[in-house]
Amino acid sequence: MRSELTRFSVVKSLLKNRWPQLFGFIVMLAGFLYAIMTGFIGTPVGNNNFSTVFVWIAWWAILILVAVPFFGRGWCAVCPIPLPGEWIQRGAILEPPSRKPRRFNLRWPNKLRNIWLQNLTFTLVALFSTVILTTPKVTAVVLAAMLFLAVGMSIVFERRTFCRYLCPVSGFIGLYAQTAPVELRVKDKQVCITCKGKPCYNGSAAGYGCPWDVFPGGLTKNTYCGLCMECLRTCPNDNIAINLRPFAADLGQPSRKLDEAFKAFIMLGAAMVYAGVLLGPWGELKSAAYSVGTVAWFGYVMAFLAFIFGLLPALFWLAVKLGQVLSKSNVPARHVFAAFATALVPLGLMFWVAFSLSFVLTNASYIFIAFSDPFGWGWNLFGTAALTWQPYLTTALVPLQTLVLVGGLLWSVRTAQKVGREVKIQPVPVIVFSMLVTLVMLGLLL
């Protein structure tokens, strides 16, 4: 059940035209650079600085509550981080130049063509997140580092190597983009097979080859398509479509990749750890997570890593093995483990939504204050600097979180059953696993 949005000529022209996207890019880049600047020279008080407030409250809320669940990689389509590097790499801002600039354009090593590095970068950010979230200078350093790294990688490597293999945000957006009701797909695969030159991948005068190193004709899920619209511009056969589709349509084809499976564990586990550490009443835990370099922090790091890379996967492995035993299956356990981890994708997304609702609704009033006084220097640009902190919808929060978590569990159960059918293994032990972690999350948030 699909509905093609690009059949409407207005939508198609808007998406093919480079100017609306450039406008979005420039607005985002300006905001991004402004966040770096306010982070470096503004007040060190996190909740009074544009940098921390806009990145970790406003942007995060839009990303995890709206952009990812409804538009998948929609954020990647306007993300400013790869932009300057891409302009340098292409030697152009809009259409491809008549002469290709001389760059290294190296291929990313084959052994690193997976998301293990993204798992690593996300875990690193997660370990320092209590400091990053609350300290404007550190937020600015992280944002600037991502920008410089993206530029450097664009100069050395071809396409968007940073986004595809290193960006800590891109990894989880890709994972959860599978649940979104929007997709870019080809209309007819046969057309792609017979297409000469494959301009969607190799580029042409009309546009660039896929920056995400994806051949659209082979796209079966949203994970690695950045919705940049280059293939829509380059396809000579009008064979690219943006479709509306049911939620989670990609989850019917379970992943067989361990890197993607571990991304699901990292995200699920991190949401649970944050719910306990940041939103719980345990002051010692918060101090330990914040005191980078101390014994307590190393203890926190060990516990964090043990939970995400040890306990959660181990329990899940046991559940999968039990399912195999019950079904007398000979399918390699590694494949089944990775396939069933697909059931953790909707669950993890809903864990993040539930966590973020609490964090965002209680701190959203800082957005209005920081908007008027971005540096925390006593300005009042829009007359909202004197507003006092006020949490929003606190009475609706708990019922909302309950609905989100229970809905996520139901979605996970449904996905586990689909995976079970694919790999011919009893999904009930995995469903029990999903239920147990949901009960823990309910206990942490309610």
Partner: protein, 156 residues
Amino acid sequence: MKLSREQWFYIILAGLAGALIVFAPLPVRVAPPSQRTFRVEASQFAYSPAVLTVNPGDTVTIELVSTDVVHGLYVDGYGASVTADPGQTVSLTFIANEPGSFRFRCNVTCGALHPFMIGKLQVGTNTLLWRAVGLALLAAFSGVALFPRPATVKAV
């Protein structure tokens, strides 16, 4: 996806069970309302004690003592708040007439982890949590019952 009659039966059954879990009155221990006073110390970035347990209807007085910088205490759901300067003790009194679990949090910027300086007020039994647990169990069981199992997978 076309649903079978059996699946529709399970959907209706699950809906009724869900409504029962959400709306059915739960047995709660009723204690006569009393006066409860807590001395709560606030320091960067925690309250001590961090969890306060009272009965519904109790008149709760929180004596907030700040041991380092200026801290505040705002009770979610009740909207009651108070601010204490370092070394100062201030009181906040309210009637805990809403049962459930409520976060209380610092409402004065007190340092880096200020947005996460959080405590918990427990008023009676946290029935919402138990209802949520019931809904989660129902979601898991009805999910298993609702969606057809593949013929190739043997039942447990």
